[in-house]
């Protein structure tokens, strides 16, 4: 084993790690926002809305992420071209971002839905009794409490998402894993580079999940 070639490759691997983190963070933000809207739709008194959101969630939870990523890679430029009438390539990053947001939204939706349902009816009644409308009751009373309760679950899901971003190698994006793999291939030392990549993924994921465990303890006590 010879790890001496890793050091010179670090700058480009840092670029890869930066891309991985960017993908992760933006996907979490988009996924949570869309997931929250989906959760509100699933809990809506309007049957059609609830059914449509339910179908969306069940559908995306039943197909592989890799499939969604490759689909969107081919579909997003096509759809954008069709809508805007121009033929402009959007690039792998944009299509992957959209794929992750829409896919993860299905999982975040279920977490948020459980969070909303864990808030007592009395809280909602108290909001309504003071003249708050549905949007105010959700935004000021229910969601802030729900998000506090589900923070550990949201973070757990985000850690899984962080690992899953490595699937973007399928459409040729140079994320952290893909960069490490290709740099290793160039110098003919793939094993060392993959071991190193594994170590970095482990440190970030394990660090984050230890923090989640700490958060859980603090919120249950």
């Amino acid at each position: 084993m010879d790890f001496s070639n890793i050091l010179p490759a670090l700058p480009s691997m840092m670029d890869g790690l930066w891309l991985t983190l960017k993908l992760t963070v933006l996907s979490i933000i988009g996924g949570v926002v869309i997931g929250t809207l989906l959760a509100l739709a699933r809990l809506s008194k309007y049957k059609f809305l609830a059914m449509a959101a339910g179908f969306y969630v069940n559908y995306f939870r039943s197909i592989p992420l890799l499939l969604v990523i490759t689909w969107f890679y081919f579909m997003v430029p096509f759809i954008i071209g069709w809508v805007t009438g121009t033929n402009r390539p959007v690039g792998a990053l944009t299509s992957c971002l959209i794929a992750f947001m829409l896919f993860e939204a299905a999982y975040f939706c279920e977490i948020v839905r459980a969070g909303i349902q864990s808030i007592s009816k009395g809280q909602i009644n108290a909001a309504y009794a003071l003249g708050l409308n549905y949007r105010q009751a959700m935004q000021l009373i229910v969601l802030p409490q729900a998000f506090r309760k589900m923070m550990p679950l949201l973070m757990q899901q985000s850690i899984i998402l962080f690992q899953d971003t490595s699937l973007v190698y399928a459409v040729g994006l140079m994320d952290f894993l893909n960069t490490a793999r290709s740099r290793g291939d160039i110098v003919g030392q793939p094993h060392e580079f993959l071991l190193f990549a594994g170590l970095i993924y482990f440190i970030i994921s394990f660090g984050a999940s230890s923090y989640v465990t700490y958060l859980k303890k603090r919120t249950t006590v």
Partner: protein
Amino acid sequence: MNDNVTMIRFNNVNKWYGRDHHVLKNLNLEVKQGEVVVVCGPSGSGKSTLIRTINQLEAINDGEIWVDGIQANSTKTNINKLREEVGFVFQHFNLYPHLSVLENITLAPINVKKVPAAQAKQQALELLERVGLLNKKDAYPSNLSGGQQQRVAIARGLAMNPRVMLFDEPTSALDPEMIGEVLAVMKQLAESGMTMMVVTHEMGFAREVADRVIFLDHGEIVEDTMPESFFTSPQTDRAKQFLRQILSPMDQ
């Protein structure tokens, strides 16, 4: 007290839970401005349902409910607007656990009535002083006793400057030694001229503070009378039995 202004009126109100459970049976009722009305009755008599229909936390199936000249159960009524005028105090307080005492009180004035934050805070501090909890303004609900939480809940309701205050068993979830502090706040509120409807088993409060007592059983108003006559000469057997049970529960 203005004897002529009707604050709350029920016209032939009916409500069912499901098909068979007739919780409110053809109720007719009138509460005048400034009146304090205690609603009592055995559990399951519909008293909590009754008070929750006034601000439409519970819908009714038939009849009309009018609050301050506005029909509460009409689809044309902006119910959120009406609820601004009707304070509601819950059995289990339902303070917002993620907000401080002060924020609990100012939330609705700021967000619903669009009162400037500084003014809402000023009013909240005055209300906290009134309920004797000024020193708890920055505390969170989980750090307060039940009695203190309920007093904050009353202040929260009052912060909207309501025309009516409704109380749904405000002392039922409290330890006995905390009931007095909440009743004292309610009594003071009654004396200030607030129109109040109170579902309670606190007969001492009914006797001392109420202008009228309504006795509800199986969804019907069985008695509607002055407190003194309700306690000394109840007209119906059901009321007599209820009073026996509640005043001397050991002698059954």
